[in-house]
């Protein structure tokens, strides 16, 4: 657990739909014990410490190209800091210096 905060959980709340399903599936591949809760019209996705969304993984589940900037269309709430948001990764972390995962070689 991160020592930077009292409660080290990061997460996003997404409008339910195709993009939401693909993002949740992509995250579950990396973090199988992530908490996924359905509420009317939405999905709440919470994980300990940090969350990395890899665009390539979301694209695989969607079966089409996906621009990470479009995450803003479906994320309605979040907890943690967005410390990186570029073409490859979106990183949500309580460590303000978290620059994301090392690139896959």
């Amino acid at each position: 657990m991160s020592t930077k905060v009292q409660r080290s959980v990061v997460g996003i709340e997404l409008m339910a739909g195709e993009e939401c399903d693909a993002i949740v599936s992509a995250v579950l591949d990396d973090i199988p014990h992530a908490s996924v809760v359905q509420v009317p019209g939405m999905v709440q996705l919470d994980v300990p410490d940090r969350l990395v969304i890899h665009a390539s993984a979301v694209e695989t589940y969607l079966g089409r190209e996906w621009d990470t900037r479009d995450l803003n269309q479906v994320v309605s709430a979040y907890r943690g800091y967005f410390t990186r948001w570029d073409e490859e990764q979106v990183v949500l972390s309580w460590d303000a210096e978290d620059r994301g995962d090392a690139p896959n070689v």
Binding site: K4, V5, Q6, R7, V9, E13, M15, V39, P40, G41, M42, R69, D70, N72, Q73, V74, V75, S76, A77, Y78, R79, G80, Y81, F82, W85, W94, A96
Partner: protein, 488 residues
């Protein structure tokens, strides 16, 4: 060109320092921030949104909202929204329309007077967001008028209620206060406290309740509104962090602003959104207290505030008082509304047996404190307030907290006048900036003075059977509650 370079060009290159006019003429002292930074130009908005991306993304959000509205009209969903939920919208949608519009005005002002180029661009974009939100609320009001048999409010009644009715002066004074602050206070109050901690209760918990009661247009509108808030939250967090990191002198100001806006948000949301989660909906997916625990306590206090504690920020000054009000807050305000139901334009229902069962499950002391009241109503007691409630001179909600039997009203004498407050939080806010709030004239005291009941009814825009009078003409002797200085 890479987006990051393009962003630099479109923010920092669009900013210039004035040479023909003095600093005083460029940013009058009234609108200049008291915060300090070694170099405001080095501050960057974490989102770094480019205008062309903004327009594309927002257009898609709008298309999706209007698709849901169209479907609701085409297939009849709007007409089938649960009537109790539409009563909630007669209150909430009206408050929201004007609140969003105020926020739009506030951010246009921040865009003009904030010292950092990146804050100015982000606030300009945010102003457009807030304007979009106000317009979505208006579209929804139009849909209820056109497709629901609930007798929804027409525009002239909506604005009259917002300007004059006692139940809405809390909302109005909150936003008039918010848009007349130091520009960095506006960012801390709006983006850090209101939007990071509290708007999730409005735009996530409330739409979940809306969807559960058949209002898909409301669900879609509010989830897309809250998706804009993600940008606003990131700006608020970055501004707070930069202020605290770069100059120790800022800590006291940021702390005061967090303390003040935390209490104002708590009071406004408890009084207006509490009933929207706990009372109006027939199907209730989340209680106000559960939503507060998730978004305010776990995310804001145990997350953001605890992370910023490394720079000296403490939890809000009146946090414990806020937490201690949650058990009875929404029940207390509903009783106040029920007693005043003849002067309200939405239906304040007597809770059903199912409602009471749910209250007892979610709020363990409900029966001990409120059970007898509703049993008396069920036995035929009238429970009509014979006068308008006594209103707090800061939050403008009734002095009825924490619950009617133990309600407090705290006096402060200032420049020969006595002011009354519903709580330590509101009293503290007044004492910190008494000269700002002393000009406030709240409608209750005014109305209770020497006005006859017919004048009062006209002022509140309510006919004796509770329907709107349908007029915007103010009765003689009316004057606005709180004058707002010209913005630009």
């Amino acid at each position: 060109m890479k987006p990051a370079e393009q962003y630099q060009r479109l923010t920092h290159s669009l900013h210039w320092d004035p040479t023909y006019v003095s600093e005083d003429a460029y940013i009058p002292e009234e609108w200049r921030t008291s915060c300090t930074m070694p170099d405001w130009k080095k501050f960057n908005d974490p989102f770094q949104i480019l205008f062309e991306d903004y327009v594309r993304i927002q257009a898609e959000k709008e298309d999706k909202f209007h698709a849901v509205r169209d479907a609701g009209a085409r297939f009849g969903h709007i007409g089938r929204v649960d009537p109790r939920w539409v009563e909630a919208m007669k209150s909430f949608n009206t408050a929201l329309t004007y609140s969003e519009y105020y926020n739009y005005r506030g951010h246009v002002r921040v865009a003009r007077f904030a010292p950092a180029p990146a804050i100015r661009i982000a606030s300009m974009v945010q102003a457009m967001d807030e304007r979009r939100h106000a317009e979505e609320a208006i579209y929804q009001a139009r849909d209820y008028v056109k497709h629901h048999k609930s007798g929804f409010l027409l525009p002239r009644d909506r604005i009259t209620f917002f300007e004059r009715h006692w139940y809405f002066q809390g909302d109005r004074s909150f936003f008039e206060d918010l848009i007349t602050t130091d520009p960095i206070e506006a960012i801390i109050g709006t983006n850090l406290v209101f939007e990071t901690a509290f708007t999730n209760l409005l735009f996530i918990a409330a739409p979940a309740a809306g969807v559960a009661n058949g209002d898909y247009g409301f669900g879609q509108a509010h989830m897309t509104i809250q998706s804009d808030e993600t940008r606003h939250m990131a700006l608020g967090q970055a501004v707070a962090r930069a202020m605290l990191q770069n100059d120790d002198m800022n800590l006291e100001l940021i702390q005061d602003w967090v303390d003040k806006w935390f209490w104002r948000c708590h009071r406004l949301l408890l009084a207006v959104v509490g009933p929207v989660l706990d009372y109006f909906p027939k199907v209730k997916p989340i209680s106000y207290r559960e939503a507060f625990q998730r978004y305010v306590v776990e995310d804001f206090i145990q997350g953001y505030v605890s992370e910023l504690s490394q720079f000296g920020l403490k939890p809000p000054r009146h946090l414990d008082q806020a937490l201690s009000e949650l058990e009875h807050g929404s029940h207390t305000i509903w009783r106040e509304l029920y007693a005043s139901r003849k002067s309200l334009w939405f239906d304040v229902h007597q809770p059903t047996a199912e409602d009471i069962e749910w209250m007892n499950e979610k709020y363990p002391s409900f029966d001990a404190v409120h059970g007898d009241y509703w049993r008396a109503v069920a036995d035929g007691a009238d429970m009509q307030a014979d006068s308008l409630p006594m209103i707090c001179d800061i939050c403008h909600f009734p002095c009825t907290f924490p619950e009617p039997k133990t309600a407090v009203a705290l006096p402060v004498d200032y420049e020969g006048d006595r002011y009354w407050f519903c709580s330590e939080g509101c009293k503290w806010i007044f004492e910190r900036e008494a000269s700002k709030y002393k000009r406030t004239i709240e409608p209750s005291a005014l109305l209770l003075g020497d006005k006859d009941p017919a004048w009062v009814a006209q002022f509140l825009n309510i006919s004796p059977d509770g329907t709107p009078l349908g007029g915007t003409a103010a009765p003689e002797g009316y004057f606005p509650a709180m004058p707002v200085p010209a913005t630009i």
